[in-house]
């Protein structure tokens, strides 16, 4: 792999850009691999990357039914933060956030991580108490956050109407090292690094069955034929239930559509990410100037990658109260992704009832921020055969055993 650098840009500039090579190869599948990862979203690709980087396991294929990053990874609003309430969540999200800090250098690919700061508005007294509690929990967990008053909110984000009649801004939970990154670049950067380590990224190849013998996985049936494996990682987000069905077990997961939309581009007017959980909306401004807006998930299970129109209406209606400036903006595009929701709103990183088969899912509305940490933990679990410290609490059995990692109270919104 040729490294990207200022020097490379200058060199290629002088020879009509004829020397750039493909970022990753598109090989035909081999008959079998040590590890197959199903799903080339951020979590699947990061898992493959850390299998190679941390454990030297490179006889790996990542199999994707569409194109890489075409699932939720390429559809999300890219908020990165780690101000969760429960200890296991803070540990894995903060691991991910800290890996994001130098991910561009690590991958030699600019993922445009922008730690511009994330604030979660408190618009009810209940929220003030909730966020103060989270700030205290974060202090104990070593995650840098702070509860700030309405004046500071206005100073950090002048376009907020803090004295709105219905939901005045009473304060905010502020994480200065949170922010955003470029979603496609995260998928592409990991894919390029995986390909460079000799792994096969196989796109346009749908997994249609899981083969097993004596309770152990032996491979997968795909639209490109049978591919054998010693270990299998299922990392397919909204389609986890479909893959689990192929492997012969059920999951505590329900799939719903979550939507986002962007406005026409305007001049820079906000340089932080703002989440307003009471009114169910959040917003940031992209580098191109578009206002990126996310809202609530559909209130019922479905697999339609578009979502209901009335949710868009509710989101925008609510945000206009807090950001009057957007009331006259045209919205350019809206889209949806199928998110995988667990009852406690925490992910699953776990061995499964089928031998040598592991699953990473349940990130729901908020897994983009977790990609590096989740890949790190999932690679460790697949390499060692058992979850390490980051993943230990996120097992499938926690539901049956009543050990929920309840984050629904802490955030209560798509993020």
């Amino acid at each position: 792999m040729k490294r990207y650098s200022a020097f490379a840009v200058a060199r290629e500039g002088l020879r009509h850009h004829a020397g750039w090579e493909r970022a990753w190869k598109s090989p035909a599948p081999k008959p079998s691999y040590d590890v197959i990862i199903v799903g080339a979203g951020g979590h699947g690709l990061a898992t493959a990357y850390y299998l190679g980087k941390n454990f030297g396991i490179t006889n790996v294929a990542v199999i994707e039914k569409g194109w890489l990053g075409g699932g939720n990874t390429g559809r999300n609003t890219t908020i990165i933060r780690s101000n969760y309430l429960q200890d296991p969540s803070a540990a894995i999200y903060e691991k991910a956030r800290s890996l994001y800090e130098d991910l561009s250098q690590d991958l030699n690919y600019n993922v445009m991580f922008s730690p511009r700061g994330v604030m979660m508005l408190a618009q009810t007294h209940h929220e003030i108490r909730g966020y103060q509690r989270t700030a205290h929990a974060n202090a104990l967990q070593g995650v840098e956050t702070e509860f700030i008053g309405p004046e500071r909110v206005k100073e950090l984000c002048p376009i907020i109407e803090t004295r709105g009649p219905r939901y005045p801004v009473l304060g905010a939970l502020w994480q200065p090292r949170g922010g955003t990154a470029r979603h496609d670049a995260v998928a592409w950067g990991y894919a390029r690094a995986c390909s460079d380590m000799g792994m096969d990224i196989i796109q346009k190849c749908e997994v249609t069955g899981v083969t097993q013998e004596g309770g152990q996985v032996t491979g997968v049936e795909t639209t490109k034929g049978h591919i054998g494996c010693t270990k299998l990682g299922i990392v397919v987000a909204g389609h986890s239930g479909v893959l689990a069905d192929m492997a012969g077990f059920r999951l505590p997961i329900e799939s719903v559509a979550l939507q986002a939309l962007v406005s026409e581009p305007i001049k820079p007017c906000m340089d932080v990410v703002v989440m307003a959980n009471t009114v169910h909306g959040y917003m940031s401004q992209s580098d191109k100037g578009e206002m990126v807006i996310g809202g609530g998930a559909d209130g019922y299970n479905n697999y339609t990658q578009r979502g209901s129109f009335h949710h868009i209406e509710e989101t925008v209606r609510a945000l206009i109260e807090t950001f009057p400036i957007i009331s006259r903006l045209k919205m350019l595009r809206m889209w949806g992704g199928i998110v995988d929701m667990t009852g406690d709103r925490s992910p699953i990183i776990s061995p499964t009832p089928l031998g040598n088969t592991f699953i990473n899912c349940g990130w729901g509305t908020g897994g983009f921020k977790a990609i590096p940490g989740s890949g790190w933990a999932t690679a460790e679990m697949i390499a060692r055969g058992t979850p390490g410290p980051l993943a230990a609490e996120f097992g499938l059995n926690r539901f049956r055993e009543g050990r929920f990692i309840d984050e629904s109270v802490a955030a209560g919104v798509a993020h």
Partner: protein, 86 residues
């Protein structure tokens, strides 16, 4: 999406509240054991395709079992819970 309430007829989805998979009305016996309760409370088929779930119709208060498709939003039929389970 429009859902037919057995009492009020076809109505906009916004009049209904989603109440999860219809397996909720098949509650296991109190002593059915841990596995049966885990199944009932947590595990889901979560199908991409035909499913059956419970909706509550706000205006009249009826609980409705709806057959629908999670991929196409097609609603195949509905009946009142009161007629299935007394």
């Amino acid at each position: 999406m429009r859902i037919t309430c057995p009492y009020c007829g076809e109505r906009d989805i916004r009049e209904f509240t989603y109440r999860g998979h219809a397996l909720a009305i098949a509650r296991p016996a109190p002593d059915a054991g841990e596995a049966a309760w885990d199944d009932y409370l947590h595990l889901r088929d979560n199908p991409a395709g035909a499913t059956q779930d419970l909706w509550h119709h706000g205006p009249c208060g009826a609980w409705v079992i709806v057959d629908r498709d999670t991929v196409t939003h097609e609603v195949a039929g509905s009946k009142a819970v009161a007629e299935v389970k007394r």
